[in-house]
Symmetry: C2
Subunit: 191 residues, 2 copies
């Protein structure tokens, strides 16, 4: 950020009075431009023990597989965002949608909100951002060609719960360590 989106003058990166974090502040109108994490909402859509995956037609991770998911828009609910992304990326509709997991990924300031549900009529086809859609059972999932660690983690939890016959709601975080390896922490869910 170089310029104030309100008045067009230059911003500086400083800690505003009464604050404790650096913000972009206009040198003329003094408007403070806050920046906040973004939510990525998506779906695990199941049909006859198979899960809908999309092969990415866009960067990053072009050509790799992912669950339908994307940035939540203003004036949406998290469910609406998850359903819209599933429709946009896979022309697919979901029934019986339920929250499944929420992961914070602090180094990229993202919060994932992933839902689970039933893929309506088992139908999917590639949207503009997908090269291909496919329904995969657990053993068929291309585990080495998944686009993002959070997608791998989400699918592992899903199949584990499915095996146990009971779905939970997971909350956790994924952090990158000094070796650029992503480490997952799932918070305990009762006390």
């Amino acid at each position: 950020m170089n310029f104030c989106s309100h008045c067009g003058e230059q911003v500086e990166h400083k800690i505003p009075q009464g604050d404790n974090r650096h913000r972009y502040v206009c040198t003329v109108c003094e408007h403070i431009h806050y920046q906040n994490p973004r939510i990525i909402a998506g779906c695990i859509a199941e049909y006859k023990n198979q899960i809908l995956l999309c092969r990415r037609a866009i960067e990053p991770r072009y050509g790799l597989w992912t669950l339908p998911a994307g940035f939540m828009e203003n004036q949406e609910t998290t469910v609406e965002a998850a359903e819209r992304e599933t429709l946009e990326e896979a022309n697919a509709k979901i029934a019986d949608i339920r929250l499944f997991c929420s992961f914070s990924i602090p180094h990229i300031s993202q919060v994932y909100m992933m839902y689970r549900g039933n893929l309506l009529n088992g139908f999917a086809s590639p949207g503009e951002e997908s090269l291909q859609t496919a329904l995969y059972s657990e053993v068929e999932i291309p585990w080495d060609e998944l686009a993002f660690p959070v997608i791998t983690e989400t699918l592992k939890l899903y199949f584990s719960d499915k095996q146990n016959g009971k779905f939970q709601i997971y909350n956790g975080e994924m952090r990158r360590d000094n070796n650029r390896t992503m480490n997952t922490l799932i918070y305990p869910d009762d006390f």
Copy 2:
């Protein structure tokens, strides 16, 4: 938004090619300025059957009572945001923190992520954004002086679960109808 924060030239509000929503787009460098919902994270902190509330020293809703909560910052997890807000607004620390509910409020593009936990040592005192902190049992809660409908809803669910002896994780939405009344929808949690 009037000016491009990258190059300082004017923006226009239009649907970019390949998109289906209005965005602020720079008339010169063509940068698209996306705007997304913000997360508000906070805590229900309990001590001996009492809940920590803060009386707001800032607008909106100056003088009304709320749970400690505020905008999640970049590079944070949702838990860290909830803990930081509780420390900033009430000088209070939380043990055994667990996700309790997440509500989308689409007309203001906010997503609440509220945690529950135990107030460490029962200690709290007003931070800069609070006039007063207090520990209230269910019957003592100033129900008619709560700052936001989502806080009322969260507290109702909390005390209801407490009565039932079992805490769930809730996901839902709050919408404002034509009479400006807020209506809450809690999504089903299993199928």
